[in-house]
């Protein structure tokens, strides 16, 4: 992996009121990166759900805990694809995430809750979780659209 360039860094609190601000920023950023409208909506949903999970599960609803979100443009190989991608790292200092809960739930169960992780998986090309130095780190990757070759080439 090489050629990382920082696009945006956000230092936030775990207040649900910040979600709409983050969505606005992600919508603008993904649009500027050339994602299609459905892809922009997918990334917005993925980041929103990841933040929601941190607020609800890592911080148990406490609204004043730190969350850091980094957006980088990278070149990567993942899921059998190779190319430029948007990498999003969400980091919190909350309690350790139960890996068993990262499996989500069967969608056949008609019940409220448990959809967030499914939405993240469906919205992004890759998802990776790790615990480091007392922090939870969630890495999301979405491949950038392949630019069309110039006319006449």
């Amino acid at each position: 992996m090489s050629g990382r360039s920082l696009l945006l860094r956000m230092e936030l609190r775990s207040n649900p009121e910040t979600l709409c601000v983050v969505r606005g920023a992600v919508a603008q950023l993904t649009d500027r990166l050339g994602f299609s409208e459905p892809e922009c909506r997918a990334v917005v949903l993925g980041v929103d759900e990841a933040m929601t999970n941190i607020i609800r599960h890592a911080y148990a609803g406490h609204p004043d805990r730190p969350i850091e979100v980094l957006f980088r443009r990278i070149r990567t190989s993942s899921c059998g694809k190779n190319g430029e991608a948007l990498e999003i790292i969400l980091e919190d200092r909350g309690k350790r995430v139960d890996r068993a809960k990262l499996c989500g739930r069967a969608l056949e169960d008609v019940k409220p809750g448990g959809l967030g992780l499914h939405f993240i998986r469906e919205s992004m090309d890759a998802l990776e979780f790790r615990r480091r130095n007392g922090r939870n780190q969630l890495r999301l990757v979405k491949f950038l659209p392949i630019p069309e070759p110039p006319a006449g080439s």
Binding site: P16, E17, C20, I55, V110, E122
Partner: protein, 110 residues
């Protein structure tokens, strides 16, 4: 998010606008559950035309409303789904469990 209610005979229509997320979904859940569980309104209709965004918290509130309606034998109908709302409901694979109408006329008439 903003929510207001209109009453037509034994039907309550909730007009919802804005974003339904972790911050706002309790404002949707409370009046929905009150209408169904306490007031026992036989038909509750949600106008989602002006909803700009919905996430898993919002979908969970809709599922709670649906389950409450089943518990009390009421109907729970959605209409006015825009692209954003429809995409998220389809992603949840729950779109088929809701009664969805194309218009308010259809939702109150059927």
């Amino acid at each position: 998010m903003q929510i207001s209610a209109r009453h037509l005979d034994k039907i309550t229509i909730f007009d919802i606008s804005g974003d339904i997320d972790l911050a706002t979904s309790p404002e949707l859940r409370k009046p929905l559950l009150r209408e169904l569980r306490e007031l026992r309104t036989p038909r509750v209709v949600l106008n989602l035309k002006a909803v700009r965004y919905i996430d898993s918290s919002g979908v969970a509130s809709l599922v709670e409303g649906l389950k409450a309606s089943r518990d009390v034998g009421a109907r729970f109908i959605l209409f006015g789904l825009n692209t954003t709302v429809r995409e998220v409901l389809q992603l949840s694979k729950l779109v088929r469990i809701f009664e969805i109408c194309e218009s308010e006329e259809q939702a109150v008439a059927t």
